[in-house]
Amino acid sequence: MQVIKPGQYRHLVTKYQKVAPVDLTKGLDRKTKQDQPANARLQEIEEGLEPYSGVFSERHLAHLIKRISFGVNPDELNAFRNRGIAAVLEHYFSNKFDYPEPINNYNIDSEKTDPEVREGESFVLAKFNNEFEGDRIISIKAWMIGRILNSQSSIQEKMILFWWSYLPIKMWDVFISKNCYRYFKMLEKHSLGNFKELIKDLTIDPAMLIFLSGAFNNKDTPDENFARELQELFCVGKGKDARYTEDDVRAVARVLTGWTIDWESIHNTGAPQSIFNPEMHHTGEKRFSAFYGNRIIQGREGMDGAQELDELLDMIFTNSETAKHISRKIYAFFVSTEISENAERNVITPLAQIIRQNNYDIVPALKVLFSSAHFYHAHIMGVMIKNPLDFTLGYWKNFEMKKAANFQEERDLYSGILWQTANIGMEIGDPPNVAGWPPYYQTPMYDKIWINSDTIAKRIFLSDSMIFWGYRLTNSQFITANILEFVKKLSKPEDPNVLIHETSVTVMGIELNESLVNLVKNILLSGQDQDYYWTGAWLTYMANPADLESKNIVLNRLNPAFQRLLQLAETQLM
């Protein structure tokens, strides 16, 4: 059976990947200036994991929802107002989300018709066909975006993105759509589960076995790629106490020899399978360094060789660095991309404790973190630059922008979003490399990497165009923001001050200062001095919403006011 190597079909990918991967780190100064951390003021936060005891205001609620899902809208704020942190978390953590499998909606785009899968049918078990894998992958990606857009008040999709950012495959490198789909489902299954079990499944996952070439690691021709990343990126990290050695990398690789892909499952209909092949397994003993307590894993013969993996994971997860490592990853994704020394001491260390106490079940730690005084510190609320998905899909949620009505439109519409978000630096399912998206780890810029003069212009073009003339996703899809409906849901839209304040809570990471509020208010008032001119215009409209003239008067003020609001730097933050 034909094996498939990572990146083997790269020559086909350019045909499908409409936006060439954007390298946001090009030309950046990668050197960390040790004496001058990128955001030194974060060090001022003394608070740790003790429960937040201050007022849980609307802005706190919005902060929490934005960080654990994608954007927030007035409906959600209304639903969870005065419910308290614990109740909100309970809802978001327990709200599981079902979404139908991706199906063949690519026949129309494709020059050929998929012989294996009829239009409208699922392709996630279809046999590998290199002429259709690209189309299928785009359909999976559009489906991944559709899931986020359709999930309601749930942390699940954000968790899946977190895991993908932390433990990524690159779908285009794997190129086998059913493996990619299976990887997604594997992350979904463990999204709020046990980290150790996740790593076990991941290690022998048929997509990961290709992506980091574990499938080609055997006793005769070892491949240390996965063995290295398992420690360096996935479990142990590169913290100052992570002192595993090159010999450890070799030993891990030996433990994992034998794990490979059942290629027949790829080339036939059915779920992709990984298998343990004893003939490829290194049966000698594997010695580890002092970092792992000079542990020795005895080589095993035959199918018993597969059990060495459990021993290996026990060893890795006994190490205290592993819990710290995942704690740092959680912190960088959900709290602040840059981790100060105080945060390392007051958040990371105790969070790792909780994770270990719970045998790597991660939910208890997440709940403590999202309830902590640290999480609601003024330096944390609004400090994160929205990633392209938070930014773009956040608008979809804020302004109830168009969603797909059927599976064909799903591909059309959501692949449009896929390429637009790719164009500002984040193609879902394909981080630039195995370390994930650089804004979550690259010193000294961190999440500032999302923003450069090109991406900020494109981000602002999105909001400008969705307000005025429709944001072009495809030649047939121009998506407009429903500003009017958004404003109607605010508590007192006739009061320009309330309108601006509540909008800022929803779309911005921080309260606007007075001069910016006045700037926007001036636009709303067309330069008039008195608030009541807006009040009158709004109430006139609401008294008779069918009257086109009064609707126009309102829109002619709302549109430029929202254009200006969404152009503000504050809108890029969450």
Binding site: N39, H379, K458, I460, F468, I510, A569, L573
Partner: protein, 516 residues
């Protein structure tokens, strides 16, 4: 979607959103395109000054025809007649704060146009502003500006591949607030917006406004800097501004600060034809005047600011050597009621005077100062004498192109007759310095007159009244050699002021005549 198209599409930036747009009306479109190209070729600029809130026209240019009647209906705000700046040989006066505007008028550099408005006046600030910005009729609903729609048809690709060699500069610049409807097209905005005066200087200095203290503020500062750098016209505007290191002094107020930037950009070589600046506060429902001295108060202060700002601007234009290629114009969404209210103020009204100023102004006045009878009641309003779209049409046509016929309403069949606003119409001949010397004799005219000039081209001579109405085409045909001379009769016309509109080839010039 083709990959290339997609990327190009996604690549535009309007961090500072952009400019002028357009009309389906082809006649209008063609014309304004020429206008704008010419504007670039000749570096001519038009500065629109929007007086937000509805300026009280009757206390700005005050009719003296029946002052007793005016006093009777505006007892709360009227000034004493001897406090006003009377204009010799007319029946109106300027508000005492407008000393510099009066002297510009006397120099022939400022024109007063009486009672400008539109049929079926709407008294809502918002709606009336939209009408002025969109160029719609009172009962048409348009969400785009008249300039915005135009540019859209002429620049369908904008903003892709803009700026470019033909259009290196912003197509329009506006200062203050966000992007106005004026420059909004159906599909894209066309103006470069400087949201406030500070944002201009921040652009020059690569600085950003104050940010909150702490790590969040640090992120905001960073994003603002990136946004600034992304402004596609930012570099161009900055370069233009940096060429000018000295300007004449301006007072420190919002309007002056804006005009100062406009003058700097024009002097620095920015070839943007249209600028919009704003001044707020004209909504004087109460305390428009101080009761103890009606020449003082809110309205007087604003007119003082307007007066000082325009004068400082004119002096700076002179100093920069750009005065001959800049015209300015004031407008407001409406005037105010004839009858004043007991809060020492005035409520929303209808027609009001406009000022058109600049070295190339036609000067003088158009129309008649409003007639007040003394028995007006609260709901009475001034009768409109000019549709505001006549003034737009005239300024664009005469300032940017002598042969333009610009239509403004969304109804393409609707045309607006021009009135004379520019002294020396844009000269497109190969030797623009060759001036037409038009002789009219006698003037004032009793019965017959003779007009003569040098020409060997197509000639058209129209007689129009001060309201811009065409009374008679006196001559049309080719001029046989030079000099050209023509006798005509004024017997049939009543005494008063008239204007001869003389078109020779692409040149246009006007001569005022008085019928005795």
């Amino acid at each position: 979607m083709k990959r290339r198209t997609f990327i190009k599409h996604a690549a535009h930036s309007l961090a500072i959103p952009g400019f002028l747009g357009s009309f389906s009306n082809t006649g209008f479109g063609k014309t304004l395109d020429t206008l704008l190209r010419l504007a670039n070729d000749t570096d001519r600029a038009l500065v629109l000054i929007y007086l937000e809130g509805g300026n009280d026209g009757l206390n700005t240019v005050i009719p003296l025809g029946n002052y007793g009647a005016l006093t009777a209906v505006r007892p709360h705000v009227v000034m004493q007649e001897n406090q006003l700046l009377e204009v010799p040989d007319t029946d109106f006066a300027f508000h005492p704060a407008l000393t510099d505007l009066k002297s510009l008028y006397e120099e022939g550099r400022l024109q007063v146009i009486h009672s400008v408005g539109y049929p079926k006046q709407n008294f809502s600030h918002f709606r009336s502003t939209d009408i002025w910005m969109s160029g719609s009729d009172s009962d048409q609903l348009l969400t785009s500006g008249w300039t915005g729609r135009y540019l859209e048809s002429k620049h369908p690709q904008y903003p892709e591949e803009y700026p470019n060699e033909s259009y290196p500069d912003p197509l329009a610049v506006e200062i203050g607030l966000g992007s106005s409807m004026l420059f909004q097209g159906e599909k894209i905005g066309f103006s470069m917006v400087l949201n406030n005066v500070n944002s201009f200087y921040e652009l020059l200095e690569n600085e950003v406004d104050e940010v909150p203290d702490g790590p969040v503020g640090d992120k905001i500062r960073f994003i603002r800097l990136m946004a600034q750098q992304s402004q596609k016209y930012g570099r161009i505007v900055k370069d233009a501004a940096e060429r000018i290191t000295y300007q004449r002094p301006y007072p420190d107020n919002r309007l002056s600060n804006q005009l100062k930037i406009v003058s700097r950009l024009i002097a620095g070589g920015l070839r943007t034809p249209l600028y919009l600046v704003r001044m707020g506060g004209f909504d004087t429902h109460d305390n428009q005047v101080e009761d103890s001295d009606r020449t003082l108060g809110k309205h007087a202060n604003m007119l003082q600011t307007l007066n000082d700002s325009i004068m400082a601007f004119m002096k700076d234009l002179e100093y920069q050597g750009t005065a001959d290629r800049v015209m300015g114009m004031t407008f407001s969404e409406f005037g105010r009621r004839i009858v004043s209210n007991s809060s020492l103020g005035t409520d929303h009204g209808s027609a009001a005077p406009m000022f058109v100023f600049g070295n190339m102004s036609e000067g003088g006045f158009l129309g008649n100062s409003p007639v007040i009878k003394g028995n007006e009641v609260y709901n009475d309003n001034l009768t409109m004498q000019f549709d505001f779209r006549q003034i737009y049409t005239s300024i664009l046509s005469q300032w940017f192109d002598s042969s333009a016929k610009v239509s403004m309403s969304a109804n393409p069949n609707k045309t607006f007759e021009q009135v004379p606003v520019i002294k020396n119409i844009l000269n497109q001949t190969e030797s623009p310095k060759e001036k037409m010397l038009i002789k009219l004799f006698p003037n004032p005219v009793k019965d017959f007159a003779n007009v003569s000039f040098n020409a060997s081209d197509e000639v058209k001579i129209d007689l129009i009244d001060t309201s811009g109405r065409l009374l008679e085409t006196i001559f049309q045909g080719s001029a046989e050699g030079r000099p050209f001379a023509h006798n005509f009769s004024m017997v049939q016309f009543p005494p008063g002021r008239y204007i001869l509109n003389v078109i020779i080839g692409n040149n246009r010039q006007t001569v005022h005549l008085i019928k005795l």
